[in-house]
């Protein structure tokens, strides 16, 4: 049994403490934005924030996060879009979309500490797997998210590009 803060509200899980947080979120809490990709911490599709830091929920036993603050993709932006989500839309990053919640949660964490990321930073910190091939747009969206965050809130730009380039 574990009680924790889930997107700003108290949540109590009454199953075994060794249950991975991933399955608690998906099946007990009904928050399915966090995805199962490998079950071994390799791919990052299940990334969530534990006290603001990205963690892989598939290898995090729920007992280990008792009393902590958990944020999932559903809670990241509150009622608004988080700058990373906004940038993801502006760059039209997604293909199949399955890995993207994890990509976004990962970027939203490390961008707080690296507000003006270089290509090297992005290659170092954005290690989530994408099978479709969105890395070129992930790279651009991270830079764009950093820009949005530095400049404060800006009006959302509809992601219908007038000109195509990659």
């Amino acid at each position: 049994m574990a009680t924790f803060d889930l997107n700003g509200e108290a949540f109590e899980f009454d199953g075994a403490d060794n249950t991975p947080l991933l399955w608690v979120l998906r099946e007990a809490a009904g928050l399915q934005g966090t995805k199962f990709g490998c079950g071994a911490g390799h791919c990052g599709a299940c990334a969530v924030h534990v006290d603001g830091r990205a963690r892989r929920a598939c290898v995090t036993p729920v007992g280990a996060i008792a009393g902590r603050k958990i944020t999932t993709i559903e809670g990241l932006g509150g009622d608004e879009l988080h700058p990373v989500q906004q940038a993801w839309l502006e760059e039209d990053v997604v293909q199949c979309g399955y890995c993207q919640a994890g990509q976004i949660m990962t970027a939203a964490d490390w961008l707080q500490r690296v507000p003006d990321p270089s290509d090297e930073d992005i290659e170092k910190y954005q290690a989530n797997l994408c099978r479709c091939g969105t890395y070129a747009r992930v790279r651009k969206a991270i830079k764009r998210a950093a820009e949005i965050s530095r400049n404060g809130a800006v009006a959302f730009v509809e992601p219908v590009a007038g000109e195509v380039q990659s």
Binding site: H42, V94, C96, G97, Y98, C99, L129, C132
Partner: protein, 749 residues
């Protein structure tokens, strides 16, 4: 579509709210199978959209996405086609995934209700192009007619713009929704609607963002793993690790005692040599949660009888391939006289290339929900083959096809893996056993150990040149375990048809061309992997052309352009035909080369490679730039060009080029599936290491040829040329020729 039979293929009816719903089906009976590509109308029942176009009295425009979305962009591009002809503003359209629609004619034959709904072979856009335009245009025509009757004017005197109907003479105007109810009552027009000319398109040809973008970035979009049916139980299956092995012993006492475990259900494996239903023998643990099912699975005590392939290894298969090539293979193409050309050659060259087994490894492991009831079944699945799912449930349950509901979610990747519906078969069998809705979840280990893998193959190429350096003869021998080995109705002497496409270049570009095939035995299940045989054949052929150019001391681009020659249509009988135009292939090679600065000097340790290929109707080429130092490879830059006919959504054509670049690099760098003692050796991303962002080129630039041709698909053409462009670049940088994939640790520079 003629006026005579038109009424049979367009169907209009009222929505529950009294609006207009319109569907269309392809003329003639197109058997509903995938994708090789099938369907039932339905009245608009429940919350799901059974029609292509729905216009409600309140003005809502809902357009159905017929094919399934796995990242290739068809949930955006197919509705764009309808919306443009309907003449509505794209931002006013709501897109809904259509469920499987099939129908049965009076003779009992099944066909698609509307249009083909499978997703494979890069066919969704090319096959949907005409019927979807007609569907949109017909709905618009009915609305015009309704407005004309209401205002007492002729429909010809009316015009439309973004969902509004205008009568210029009187200044009257009205929204589509105002006339939707009246439009339903009208007879369908006798003649096919007038379609827009290309310069009238407002949505087609303009870059549009993915329709589910906001849902995806906020975690709301529904994938297969998110699907649910009321009262469902959760299942996980331990499968036999040996191909065609069987269950010898099962002790489930400990598993059944675990909290949350409900039942244990053995699943019989497929019959050796017969078409697959399930992929392997297994034991399903059914529980109250996925985690409980996984724990129960661990507690099973199982013994397997390893079956007929217990001693297979990758090394033994490769040895057999080499042994086979000591003899002449099955000659599947023999233009001219290759032996004579080789005898008379001023020069000749031979090289061998190897491409390993590969796994699809979509990010979303296989999953689905199935409920088999007494009078029907419900399936929710991330599948490329919804009609295949329907047929599989019918086969296993005997339920009438029309009583099997198949709904499709977004797919967390497909790449050909989800053309097979083995996971639907498993969930069906478990649901039949426990008589409840079953949510089946595979793990990553399950997914990598149990796949329909891309066949491996050994390619031997030999070419002759005359004293002026012209290619005169070409022999390509391929030894591979064919993906057709367990298909119904494919004879042993047709195994090659899945692995060699005779009309691929260089056929008809030189006088003497011979293809030989060696059909190898392997227990490893095989299937369609993105651009099936094109990936391997493009690697062999485009590498060999590069080798021939270098041997002649010629520029690889110039050498290939000379080989391809002028623009002309050559017959192409395999999928992607009916013609192949070498000039269009030359066009993308030239465009990529020009944009990449082909020929400009690079510093030591850097190199540029080029390759192009024709895949399923589309032409793509890349120039890849690499740096190799201390055995380390860095892909610095990739410049691509594609000729896919009219680019319906240029944004997602570019995205598919980016996807092909990534998939090409990822697979070429480190991905291979190997077998030892009858078992697959790879089981998660630590030993099947997909490329990460740090492996991706920092500079990626893609260009679309402005083409007068109708659209071809773009899911597969972008991958095939990448691996040879990459290894040709490595050769340019280092002088080392990579003839075996993956590149892995072969680099010596």
């Amino acid at each position: 579509m003629t006026a005579l039979n038109r009424r049979h293929f367009i169907k209009a009816s009222a929505t529950i709210a009294g609006g207009l719903a319109l569907g269309v089906s392809l003329p003639g009976r197109v058997e509903e199978k995938a994708p090789d590509l099938a369907g039932s109308v339905g009245e608009p029942n429940g919350p799901h959209l059974a029609y292509l176009v729905r216009i409600e009295p309140d003005g809502q425009v809902i357009i159905g996405a017929p094919s399934t979305e796995m990242g290739q962009g068809v949930k955006t591009s197919l509705p764009m086609i309808i919306a443009d002809e309907l003449d509505v503003a794209w931002q006013d359209v709501r897109v809904e995934q259509m469920p499987l629609g099939i129908k049965r004619d009076s003779e009992g034959n099944m066909s698609w209700l509307h249009v083909g709904q499978g997703a494979g072979g890069s066919t969704s856009v090319s096959m949907g192009w005409q019927p979807l335009r007609e569907a949109g245009a017909t709905a618009r025509q009915l609305l015009l007619q309704a407005a004309g009757e209401h205002w007492g004017v002729s429909p010809e005197s009316l015009s439309t713009e973004r969902g509004v109907i205008f009568h210029a003479d009187s200044g009257r105007r009205g929204r589509y929704g105002d006339f939707a109810a009246a439009a339903v009552a009208l007879p369908l027009p006798e003649n096919p609607p007038t379609l827009k000319s290309a310069d009238e398109f407002q949505i087609i040809g303009r870059p549009q963002a993915v329709v589910d973008g906001r849902e995806i970035v906020t975690g709301q979009a529904e994938f297969g793993i998110d699907a649910a049916l009321p009262g469902q139980v959760y299942a996980s299956i331990e499968r036999c690790p040996y191909h065609d092995g069987t269950l010898a012993q099962l002790d489930d006492k400990a598993a059944r005692k675990l909290p949350g475990v409900i039942d244990v259900v053995p699943i019989e494996g497929p019959s050796p040599g017969e078409p697959f239903t399930v992929l392997a023998a297994g034991v399903a643990v059914v529980a109250e949660s996925t985690w409980a099912a996984l724990q129960g699975r661990k507690a099973l005590k199982l013994e397997w009888d390893p079956g007929p392939h217990a001693t297979e290894s990758t090394a033994s298969l490769r040895r057999q391939m080499h042994e086979a090539m000591e003899h002449t293979g099955q000659i599947v193409l023999d233009d001219g006289d290759v032996d004579a050309a080789l005898d008379l050659a001023a020069d000749s060259l031979e090289a061998e290339y190897f491409v390993p087994y590969a796994s699809h490894a979509p990010m979303e492991p296989q999953c689905c929900v199935v409920h088999v009831r007494d009078d029907g079944a419900d399936v929710i699945a991330p599948t490329q083959s919804p009609s295949g799912a329907s047929r599989m449930v019918n086969r296993l349950t005997g339920l009438d096809r029309m009583a099997i509901n198949v709904h499709m979610t977004r797919l967390g990747g497909g790449f050909g893996r989800r053309l097979t519906v083995d996971y639907v078969a498993e969930a069906t069998l478990v649901s039949m056993a426990v008589k409840r809705p079953v949510k089946l979840q595979w793990t990553r280990e399950d997914d990598l150990r149990h796949d329909f893998y891309r066949p491996c193959g050994l390619h031997r190429l030999r070419a002759s040149l005359d004293d002026s350096g012209q290619l005169t003869g070409w022999r390509h021998q391929l030894a591979s375990p064919s993906k057709y080995y367990r298909r119904a109705n494919v004879e042993a002497d047709k195994m090659w048809t899945a692995e060699l496409y005779p009309d691929d270049p260089p056929r008809r570009l030189l006088p003497n061309v011979q293809l030989q095939y060696y059909s190898m035995d392997s227990g490893v299940p095989r299937g369609s992997w993105r651009a099936p045989a094109h990936y391997a054949n493009a690697f062999a052929v485009q590498s060999f052309i590069d080798e021939l150019a270098h041997r002649q001391g010629e520029d690889p681009l110039a050498f290939q352009l000379q080989l391809l020659g002028e623009s002309r249509d050559l017959p192409y009988e395999q999928h992607g035909g009916p013609v192949f135009n070498p000039g269009r292939l030359a066009g993308v090679l030239k465009l990529a080369a020009e944009k990449a600065g082909w020929g400009k000097p690079l510093p030591a340790g850097r190199g540029r490679g080029i390759a192009g290929h024709f895949t399923f109707g589309g032409y793509a080429a890349y120039v890849v730039e690499v740096t190799v130092s201390a055995g380390q490879l860095r892909v610095d830059r990739v410049v691509g060009a594609i000729d896919c006919g009219l680019a319906v959504n240029p944004n997602h054509v570019i995205a598919q080029m980016e996807s092909g670049i990534h998939d090409g690099i990822s697979t070429a760098l480190r991905l291979e599936i190997t077998v030892e003692a009858g078992r697959i050796q790879q089981d998660n991303f630590h030993n099947y290491p997909l490329a990460r962002l740090r492996d991706a080129p920092r500079e990626v630039e893609n260009h679309i040829v402005d083409s007068p041709h109708p659209p071809s698909g773009v899911g597969e053409p972008p991958i095939s040329p990448l691996a040879p462009a990459l290894t040709n670049a490595i050769f340019a940088a280092t002088g080392q020729r990579i003839r075996e994939l993956p590149i892995a640790d072969q680099l010596t520079a």
